[in-house]
């Protein structure tokens, strides 16, 4: 029997077992929502109209809203020269004909942003809102946009066959750049909070990635981070963690959410625990010093002595751990095999995990840990808070350097 040929057959048979037969409830829910879900019609037909006619419509949106404003929407594909960040706003309206239907959509979107309203109708927002698009109508200082331009981002194979556009919006000397995406079946432009994890920041202002706040643990912890860090919104993960985009040109896009092997990671852990079985065990150490001492005394962890530091105005202990690659390592897990949220060593567990009696056992990856431990202020639901950088030794210094402003930004809030 040739196993390479058999695996697809076995897989196919397994996938076709136990077909779902109870979609009535889902269908009923969909039917109930049809009346409140209008179909989208107008925009695509607009894309198919002659381009200059459509462009006039797009420009009218902006000019109606701000009669005094002069709006210049230029597709860079038609530009011979590209104005720099310091160039003055044009005093006369001009426009190039869009080279494609998508150009028309981007032009209309930018016209609305310059006008100061109506941009959301050109976005495919999914379950989010336009409020989650950074700097939609103004710069970080609140300055309104005066003109805009865009260009296609070449050289990358974006997920879903999407095309990426870098838009630029000008407000005096300030230039905001953002990535937006469109696909052949898109209902609007799409903004990705992680930009699909490439070297291109999803939002930048005057060339600097825009710092965004991220709040976790029911509002008790806030940090501020910018590209190349990617932090998900609160509630996405049981254990919040940020990932550091690799430092090199031409980083390929990804949708894999953490399984790409070259991410460095920064975990946020409330009441961290080293071992034990099962989840929901509660705090296992009296304070940060006791936890640090326990780590230091465990010979398997390769822990350095804890050093008292001040991080973002907060007293903390910092130490490094290195568990040699291949060391058998057990962390707590629930009955479903998910690692518990408080697992201090979750980030260095590796391949071929096995589960038994509330523990998950694997071999350590050999990655290095930089650990920051905080005794949190009274009134929070946690006693100890940990920030854990996990990275291979070769990338350790870069990860620590990149993490420093994020760690320094930590804020604790009493509920």
């Amino acid at each position: 029997m040739n196993s390479d040929r058999d695996l697809p057959r076995i897989l196919q048979a397994w996938l076709h077992e136990d077909l779902h037969k109870h979609g009535d409830r889902v269908l009923g829910g969909v039917v109930d929502l049809l009346d409140t879900t209008p179909q989208r019609r107008s925009r695509w037909s607009a894309w198919r109209t002659p381009t200059m006619k459509y462009l006039k419509t797009a420009l009218a949106i902006g000019l109606t809203a701000a009669a005094a404003a002069v709006v210049v929407i230029v597709g860079l594909g038609a530009l011979r020269t590209e104005p720099g960040p310091g160039s003055s706003p044009s005093a006369s309206a001009s426009a190039s004909a869009p080279s494609s239907a998508v150009d028309g959509l981007v032009n209309a979107f930018l016209a609305a942003r310059v006008a100061g309203y109506g941009a959301a109708q050109y976005l495919d927002l999914g379950n989010t809102t336009a409020d989650n698009i950074p700097l939609l109508y103004a710069t970080t200082s609140g300055a309104r946009y005066e003109r805009a331009e865009f260009k296609q981002v070449p050289g990358k194979e974006w997920p879903y066959g999407w095309t990426a556009f870098k838009v630029r919006l000008f407000a005096g000397d300030t230039v905001v750049e953002q990535l937006f995406f469109a696909g052949p079946d898109s209902s609007g432009l799409n903004y990705q909070w992680d930009g699909f994890g490439t070297e291109i920041p999803p939002t930048a202002e005057n060339g600097q990635p825009v710092v965004m706040p991220y709040t976790y643990f029911d509002g008790q912890v806030t940090l501020y981070a910018a590209h190349p860090w990617v932090f998900p919104s609160s509630g996405t993960y049981l254990t919040p963690f940020g990932r550091l985009i690799p430092q090199r040109p031409g980083v390929p896009p990804t949708t894999d959410g953490g399984q790409r092997g070259d991410w460095d990671q920064l975990f946020l852990i409330a009441d961290p625990a080293l071992g034990g079985a099962g989840c929901g065990r509660g705090p296992l150490s009296a304070d940060a010093a006791a936890l640090a001492q326990g780590l230091r005394l465990n010979p398997d962890l390769g822990a350095t002595a804890p050093v008292a530091v001040t991080v973002g105005g907060q007293p903390a202990l910092v130490m490094d751990l290195v568990i040699p690659a291949g060391t058998s390592i057990s962390v707590a897990a629930n009955a479903g095999g998910d690692l518990c949220a408080d697992g201090l060593l979750n980030g260095v567990t590796g391949d071929s995990m096995t589960y038994a009696s509330g523990t998950a056992t694997s071999r350590a990856t050999g990655e290095k840990i930089r650990l920051y431990l905080f005794d949190v202020p009274e009134g929070l639901s946690m006693r100890i808070f940990a920030m854990v950088i996990v990275t291979p030794e070769a990338r350790f210094q870069r990860a620590v350097d990149e993490a420093t402003p994020v760690i320094d930004s930590i804020e604790f809030h009493t509920p």
Binding site: S3, D300, A356
Partner: protein, 196 residues
């Protein structure tokens, strides 16, 4: 158990095309008929991609509503199924992003020593497949589901994911390789706990 020996082109014809065109014009009854014929298959496909029934139902509901919302923009009604699969996959990715749980990076290692027996020629039970499948990335689970559950040809997989044919073929190959590695790893002796 349902299996097809030949891949099925992802087009709709005849009555379904009429239903698609009626639904494009706002006919809720026509859309409901289209959705009813597909909802179980959508849930099943998204369940296999997401490995969680609740997430799969949410993804299916979101996909069907997006299909309804954007249906007037579908230029070729005969491409309804290909287009709807693409929206379903996109909804699955969105659900996976919302529900993802922090955990370790699981790197699948190739077998480190020659295996004494061909383990695939022995019985692979459902639990093994389930564990191996869970260890794959969502990209790999998706490509396997499109190919071996929805029975799409590689051209259809590429079209659904919006990627070139070569990329789809390569991803499918790597997904099978990854599943094989996961099954092999699962068959190794259990490691003993040391660090506590």
């Amino acid at each position: 158990m349902k299996r097809r020996s030949e891949p099925t082109p992802i087009t709709v014809e005849g009555m379904d095309t009429d239903l698609v065109m009626a639904a494009q014009n706002g006919d809720k009854g026509a859309f409901t008929a289209l959705a009813a014929a597909r909802v179980d298959r959508f849930i099943a496909a998204s369940h296999r991609i997401l490995r969680d029934l609740a997430l799969a139902e949410d993804a299916t509901q979101q996909a069907l509503l997006t299909i309804w919302r954007d249906l007037p923009q579908l230029r070729d009604p005969a491409r309804f199924d290909a287009w709807s699969y693409r929206l379903l996959v996109r909804a699955c990715y969105a659900e996976a992003g919302r529900a993802r749980r922090a955990g370790p990076n699981i790197h699948l290692l190739p077998a480190q020593e020659p295996m004494a027996v061909d383990r695939l020629s022995a019985v692979i039970d459902r639990d093994q497949l389930e564990r191996g499948f869970r260890r794959l990335s969502i990209d790999h689970r998706t490509v396997l589901v499109l190919r071996y559950f929805l029975d799409l040809p590689i051209e259809g997989v590429a079209e659904t994911l919006g990627i070139p044919f070569g990329t789809a073929a390569s991803r499918l190959h790597n997904a099978i390789k990854g599943l094989r590695a996961a099954l092999d790893a699962d068959a190794r002796p259990t490691l003993q706990a040391r660090a506590r």
